[in-house]
């Protein structure tokens, strides 16, 4: 019986998020006629596909009890590297591979430093953030637009869905990433080790799980997801800019937390992160639809939501104990 209530409580944050999402959508639909159309929901996905991919990477890191502050900077670096190389006439496929390699390597490096030198993830990824932003500025301080055929096709080709609705290719990529992430987390050894490390790193090590490899892999995954998020952002904006995605790490962390992943690690679902991203997106859309509220209300509402969900997590974990 106790295990049953404990597992039910584990779902409580995610259920709360879902209720919030439905409530916000219902409120919007009741308030504005156009809001009820399915395309509005899809537009939220289109506008936030890159955030979703980045937040999925962040979920892996937070599940192990770490944090990655470098994601926003890596996203910006990826857009800029793509734009610069494409402008120089490099083939788009080579650019894509190179960008992903850069992101993955940065994450790998940070993970190695965190694990082998026992430094706090917070400070190491902070240094990574400085490094990536610094590299951005050395590449170019100005925005570079992307005119490459492949990128513009990817950006402008809609994927039709039944009912006359459509999504962008970015959304399709994001959904594929989501499926892969969910599979890895729940059906592979790597995924189970991620949860084990988040539960207790020491126990995981004593159980003979590959803690070092997994911890480093997790940061590499986050770096890779950030790089891919950067590519999607490049599709979305068709430009590379050192000022892209400033403060995005906070949005990603907020999405993961609102999605019910516990910050000390060990508990959470990547599907929750999707709900978190959708909640952030729907708040933005509601504020846009309202028209009288200024954009800074988004930040205040997100801050307030973060507060509510963190306190909720606190209460849940205290009662579960």
């Amino acid at each position: 019986m106790t295990t049953l209530t404990a597992s039910r409580q584990r779902y409580l944050p995610i259920i709360a998020t879902f209720a919030l999402l439905v409530g916000a959508y219902g409120f919007g639909a009741a308030q504005y006629e156009a809001f009820a159309s399915g395309q509005v929901v899809l537009n939220i996905l289109i506008d936030n596909a890159f955030l979703l991919v980045v937040a999925i990477g962040m979920t892996f890191v937070i599940l192990t009890g770490g944090i990655d502050l470098s994601v926003g900077a890596v996203v910006a670096l990826s857009t800029l590297v793509s734009a610069r190389l494409l402008a120089a006439g490099v083939s788009p496929l080579v650019v894509l591979v190179l960008v992903l390699v850069i992101g993955g390597t940065l994450g790998l490096g940070m993970g190695a430093v965190i694990h082998y030198f026992e430094l706090q993830p917070f400070i190491v990824t902070l240094a990574g953030m400085f490094l990536a932003r610094g590299l951005c500025y050395t590449i170019s301080v100005e925005s570079i637009s992307i005119t490459d055929g492949f990128f513009t096709t990817m950006a402008q080709t809609p994927v039709s869905l039944p009912g006359g609705m459509h999504v962008s290719t970015s959304v399709v990529i994001a959904v594929i990433v989501l499926a892969v992430a969910a599979y890895v987390l729940h059906f592979t050894r790597l995924g189970r080790t991620v949860y084990a490390i988040g539960g207790s790193e020491q126990s995981a090590m004593l159980m003979g799980l590959p803690v070092a490899r997994t911890k480093i892999t997790v940061y590499a995954i986050s770096g890779l997801c950030s790089a891919l998020g950067g590519v999607l952002l490049a599709f979305y904006t068709l430009s590379g800019n050192a000022l892209h995605a400033v403060g995005m790490e906070l949005d990603a962390i907020a999405a993961v937390v609102i999605g019910g992943t516990i910050l000390t690690g060990g508990t959470g679902y990547v599907l929750g992160t999707v709900l978190g991203v959708l909640v952030l997106g729907i708040i933005q859309t509601l504020i846009t639809f309202d028209g009288t509220l200024s954009s800074w209300w988004t930040k205040i509402v997100i801050g307030a939501l973060l507060f509510v969900f963190i306190v909720l997590q606190r209460l849940v974990s205290r009662r579960a104990r």
Partner: protein
């Protein structure tokens, strides 16, 4: 001497200053103009004063094993509310009105710090996350106060906080020095400092030993908020305007960097105000150097990344152990010498 914990930050600062001197022999010249001191060194101190203030507050928080990410937002809010109050006054030059604006701004900063403190000490939320809330929402609040505009004020007493001079010295430096001296005296001449280090070293043990760790932790966040508020006043008064969007952007990172460079461990339990001040000056000198040497200012971030990593690695026991182990195959006498050097590093 090489073993002193302030040796390396101080050495780095001196090297940086000497580098500037070699590149620009006029770098060290300080002249008296219209009764004010002018010169690159004075500029470093003046522009570094807000960072010193924020970093001093951050030192206290980090000493207890916490962190405060919201200082940048508090900087913006404090400047915004002060300018809003001033801009509504009929006579902006009145001393009473300015004092009111300063009082409101500092009061609000204390309240914000107290909120952070409650989240961390009463609700036991991780400090990074607890202060992240205010970091996100605070920017929004600052923009709400300024209505998304840049509020400009025209008040000479207010301008004096960040841009004025008393006895040939900039007021902002005097404020920073006063806070530094006051904090150092309070912490080192009373049991407060020891209690803080006890809480940072092992909160549970210190609680069992009878230290009221909760109240102490709460207090550090309040002081940190207050320091950030003062810094916000300095920054906004220096330009006589409040920008909710950009004031104090990234200052939390610079402050954490200054604290780490100054030898305060991020895990808590050991702290040094003097080290923090040297760290803050080092960061400010770095920014100034980049400008005076004509290096593109964008590379400052790269420098900072390298400095953070180097300092953290030197402080990491695991890194030192690995370095020492690698050197073991050498003859015994050599190894012992090497070990000494490593420990001091």
């Amino acid at each position: 001497m090489i073993k002193h914990r302030l040796f390396w930050p101080t050495a780095a600062l001196i090297v940086l200053l000497l580098g500037n001197f070699i590149a620009h022999p006029a770098f060290f010249s300080v002249e008296l103009r219209e009764g004010h001191l002018y010169g690159s060194l004075i500029d470093i101190l003046r522009f570094g004063a807000p960072l010193i203030m924020v970093a001093l507050g951050m030192t206290l928080v980090i000493a207890t094993g916490g962190i405060d990410l919201s200082v940048g937002s508090v900087v913006a809010i404090s400047g915004a509310i002060a300018c809003l109050h001033l801009s509504g006054l009929e006579n902006q030059d009145s001393l009473g009105g300015t004092a009111g604006a300063v009082g409101i701004a500092l009061g609000l900063s204390i309240v914000l710090g107290a909120c952070n403190g409650v989240l961390v000490s009463v609700l036991n939320i991780q400090p990074i996350i607890a202060t992240l809330i205010l970091m996100v929402a605070g920017r929004g609040l600052a923009q709400l106060i300024t209505d998304g505009q840049i509020i400009t004020v025209n008040s000479s007493p207010y301008q004096a906080i960040g841009g004025g001079f008393v006895l040939t010295l900039p007021v902002s430096i005097l404020i920073a020095v006063a806070v530094f001296v006051l904090a150092s005296l309070l912490v080192r001449k009373s049991a407060l400092g020891m209690l803080l280090e006890a809480v940072g070293g092992n909160p549970e043990a210190s609680r069992l030993a009878g230290v009221r760790s909760r109240r102490l932790i709460w207090l550090t966040y309040v002081v940190c908020g207050l320091c950030a508020g003062i810094a916000g006043l300095m920054i906004s008064s220096n330009v006589s305007s409040a920008d909710g969007n950009n004031a104090g952007l990234w200052i939390e990172l610079d402050a954490i960097l200054a604290v780490v460079i100054g030898g305060t461990a991020l895990t808590g339990g050991r702290f040094s105000f003097a080290g923090t001040v040297i760290g803050a000056l080092l960061i400010q000198t770095l920014s100034t150097t980049v400008y005076t040497l004509g290096i593109p200012p964008q590379t400052t971030l790269l420098f900072k990344a390298v400095v953070v990593m180097a300092v953290c690695l030197v402080q990491s026991p695991a890194f030192r152990r690995k370095l020492v182990r690698r050197r073991k195959p050498k003859p015994v006498t050599r190894a012992r010498q090497d070990e000494k050097v490593e420990v001091s590093a």
